[in-house]
Amino acid sequence: MADYTPDYVGTVTKYVFVESPTMTAGELALRAYEASEGVLIKETCFGLQVTGEPEAVEKLIEEIRTFDPVHIFVKDRGFPPGDPRRCRANLGGARPGYLGHEREFRVLRYITRGLEELDRRGEEPEEPEKPAVPPARGKRPLLDIKRLQELIETEES
């Protein structure tokens, strides 16, 4: 049995996803590099991976979030960036976690919508009229009417 000696001990790595109509992953990376102060940044197709001491990463993440608060999403990653054990090229395909991200990407725009609305309402959340938990599936209309309108307008413009 071979021994294992880890790299990047004591660091944290976080994914930064950007799902924005106004900011590309490349632009996000450019601005993040400027603020990085020694934190390792790796650009990806969906945003960034940042790696470094926990406090430094935390500080940078706070800064990055301000670029576009409702379109930037962050989560922890177990592996350091570019780790061959998780690399698509070595596995012959995407690791399973990527498909899980794909699942949540579909939902991100609704989360963005929620964050925007809460921003508009201000610090103190209003008491929701309806119960906080979204209604069960099946009762919803197939397509949200506002969303339909948005789609029509986008098509026309």
Binding site: P6, G100, Y110, E117
Partner: protein
């Protein structure tokens, strides 16, 4: 800052919202990071070694498949550490660390057994549900001890 177990433990959305509203998300990445950063026997890809399913015996009996026990070796300690939990109940397409339905059932049961605040909801499928989802999560998180806006 409260330690909030997120379910699915691989969720980008929950991980983001919990941290955004000033708490610490407890998810799969923390358990994997601990293994990736600990020296020992080489066991790619996840540095989960055959010892992990044995550690998992604390949470599931020996006749429970090794993959369940290995996963529980990651989640068990995180569940013990958790002070609250947010659960998305229709997370049927969460793979890898959350890819085993039997483990997921055991995780949910273990969370519900703990005397701690739990918020259960579904993924939003419309703008309105998105607003409700985020509002519910924020309300839940601000109600937790030492909670607050980031």
């Amino acid at each position: 800052m409260a330690k909030v177990f997120i379910y699915p433990a691989t969720s980008l959305i929950l991980s983001d919202l919990v941290a955004r509203f000033g708490h610490k998300p407890l998810g799969a990445a923390l358990g994997i990071r601990e293994r990736i950063q600990t020296a020992g026997v080489d066991s790619p890809p996840l540095q989960i070694t055959p010892e992990d399913p044995k550690r998992g015996l604390k949470y599931a009996a020996v006749e429970v498949p090794s993959g369940v026990r290995g996963r529980m070796a990651i989640y068990g300690p995180l569940i013990e550490e958790a002070e609250a939990a947010i659960i998305v109940t229709d997370a049927d397409l969460a793979f890898g660390c959350m890819g085993c339905a039997r483990t997921d059932e055991l995780i949910l049961f273990s969370l519900r057994q703990k005397d701690m605040p739990i918020l259960e909801l579904k993924y939003p499928t419309t703008d309105e549900e998105g607003i409700e989802f985020v509002a519910a999560v924020r309300k839940f998180l601000t109600s937790l001890p030492k909670g607050g806006e980031s």
